[in-house]
């Protein structure tokens, strides 16, 4: 009898733990949308999403977040263009070309990268990348390109980790068959193994995109944060995440609601990215 009650109690604890994350995500969704949707309806969805002016201090104020949506998208594309090729090649190297001695140092170093707080990346960007970009391309050095380079570095551990695992998961018979047919080691890896690991690699890219679009503290220091339509690769930009963090401290009333509504839009972006991730992953498993 006593054993049974303990059993039931522990079962409850386990279920509660499992429900915890679900409950928090539901609560987060509720508060973001409850705070943001009334503002969107009041201000007009079209004005909000497609407005090109973000001027909260003006009377009357304008709250168009198209510049920030585009900013987030451009910076993410830039980060993907820089981080993904490097990441996939590194993962291939680690899984198929690297000797054990080097691997012993490389792998922990890459894992360490994912543990570095993003504000530290931001200061690195501000003190190292920004002056270099200013030297070469003029202006303030804070630009879409700078943010892309920094984010490209930041998504490396995500891309490398998952890609490497999926490359290692390709059955050895693929490789052996390719070698047996006379292909070289390099050719077997690039033409047989990498294509076979495609869905895993693609998933890693999507996760990397999710990380890039949600990154805040590093971007805020190197992007310039001008709330106007993006004007070029070497001009400043403001993303949705930085817009929220930047102005939340002082915002009141409608301004505050507009920032929460920005968070809601960002949330929808993340939901879309995660859905695509799940679809790609499921397709890979079948």
């Amino acid at each position: 009898m006593k054993k049974n009650s303990l059993e039931g109690f522990m079962k409850g604890i386990f279920i509660l733990s499992a429900l915890m994350s679900v409950i928090s995500i539901v609560l987060i969704m509720y508060f973001i949308f409850a705070g943001g949707l009334p503002f969107i309806f009041e201000y007009g969805l079209k004005n909000f999403l497609l407005g090109t002016q973000w001027k909260p201090s003006n009377i009357p104020a304008s709250y168009g977040i198209l510049p920030m949506i585009l900013g987030s998208i451009y910076v993410t594309i830039g980060a993907t263009a820089i981080g993904v090729p490097i990441g996939i090649l590194t993962a291939t190297f680690l899984a198929k070309f690297c000797n054990d001695k080097l691997y012993k140092y490389l792998k922990p170093a890459i894992n360490l990268m994912s543990g570095i707080p993003s504000i530290v990346y931001g200061f690195f960007g501000l003190t190292v990348i920004v002056p270099i970009m200013r030297e070469f391309f003029g202006g303030t050095g804070m630009s879409i390109a700078t943010a892309s380079i920094l984010l490209g570095i930041m998504i490396l551990p995500t891309v490398i980790g998952m890609s490497e695992a999926s490359i290692r998961a390709v059955p050895a018979t693929y490789y052996e068959g390719s070698i047996a047919l006379g292909a070289t080691h390099e050719r077997s890896v690039m033409k047989v193994i990498l294509p076979a690991a495609k869905s895993g690699v693609l998933s890693s890219v999507i996760l990397g995109i999710g990380r890039a679009i949600g990154e805040t503290m590093a971007v805020i220091l190197v992007a310039g944060n001008q709330p106007r339509m993006p004007k070029g690769l070497f001009k400043g930009v403001r993303t949705m995440t930085t817009n929220i963090v930047m102005e939340m401290a002082y915002a009141a009333d409608q301004h505050r609601e507009a920032l929460i509504a920005t968070a809601a839009v960002l949330f929808i972006f993340i939901l879309i990215i995660n859905t695509v991730f799940l679809i790609v992953k499921r397709r890979g498993e079948n």
Binding site: P56, N58, I59, N225, E247, A249, A252
Partner: protein, 288 residues
């Protein structure tokens, strides 16, 4: 083997020195360069005061207000971030609270007056804002005593020590009180208020003061609603707030216009600052 290592080390050291020298030689300031503006985010009290005093904020008869800060301006959301950006960029210009000024950057004179506490006090330095407190109706006895302390010579000495400018002609503080107070409002006034309450509580051990750093507008709102005894604002009080509250200036704070130390510019007029910050003058030749 040892010899090669030491040779390499020497080579590295020489290289470092060489780089150091060449960097120093490059310090020539090119006035045809683009001005890199650094501004604060919308909603910041410092930005609000700066755009209003300098005339970047344009008001029309219908009550519409347009902040014309140049859209290419880099936006940083804190005094420290503005300082770091300007300290690291030869061609940058920004603005910060005078109390936070340090020697990593250079403050320019405005219309001939240097950015110092004394010049703010005699109004020759034009870009200054009041630190206000406001309360509804009559203050409680402890509140009134605390206000006396803030305006006394002891309280104003603290304000001056912190880099702000004292107001009025303070007299020595004498008094005592017991009770508790809630003070809420501007994040810019909060550091000063913390020092003041610390010193006040040393004199009156029976008093407890809770300080909430919520922003100027939120602080005024709390004072009107009665959730705070005293509200703090780092700007002039609005008419709608003055209708409900009694205001009192407790100190003045100058806003320093800062440039990089390499920048030879020493003096700008208000009109020049305005034309730089609205984007009419985009090159440093404006300051010649």
């Amino acid at each position: 083997m040892k010899k090669t290592i030491s040779l390499i080390l020497v080579a590295i050291m020489v290289a470092i020195f060489a780089v150091g020298c060449s960097a120093e030689e490059q310090s020539d300031f090119d006035t045809s360069e683009i001005i890199n503006l650094v501004s604060r985010e919308d909603g910041s009290g410092t930005r609000g005061a700066f755009v209003e005093i300098v005339g970047i904020l344009e008001k029309d008869a219908d009550g519409n207000e347009v902040d014309r800060t140049y859209e290419e301006a880099v936006i940083q959301n804190g005094t420290d971030a503005v300082l770091t950006t300007v300290a690291g960029d030869e061609y940058a210009i920004g603005y910060i609270s005078l109390g936070s000024l340090n020697d990593t950057v250079k403050a320019v004179s405005v219309g001939g007056a240097q950015a110092t506490a004394a010049n703010v006090q005699d109004s020759s330095y034009a870009i200054a804002r009041p630190f206000n407190i406001a309360y509804k109706g009559e203050l409680s006895s402890v509140g009134a005593d605390f206000l006396n302390f803030i305006l006394s010579s002891e309280g104003q000495a603290i304000a001056e020590e912190e880099g702000y400018v004292q107001v009025g002609e303070p007299v020595a503080y004498e008094g005592s009180a017991e009770g508790s107070l809630v003070v809420a409002g501007s994040t810019s006034v909060t550091p000063l208020m913390e020092k003041l309450s610390e010193a006040y509580q040393k004199l009156n051990s029976g008093v407890s003061i809770e300080i909430q750093s919520t922003g100027s507008s939120a602080g005024m709102q709390s004072a009107i609603e009665g959730t705070a005894d005293i509200g703090m604002a780092s700007r002039e009080l609005k008419d709608s707030e003055l209708a409900e509250l009694t205001g009192q200036v407790i100190a003045m704070d100058g806003i320093a216009v800062i440039v990089n130390k390499e920048n030879p510019v020493e003096d700008l007029t208000i009109d020049q600052i305005k034309s730089i910050f609205v984007g009419q003058s985009t090159e440093w030749t404006v300051a010649e």
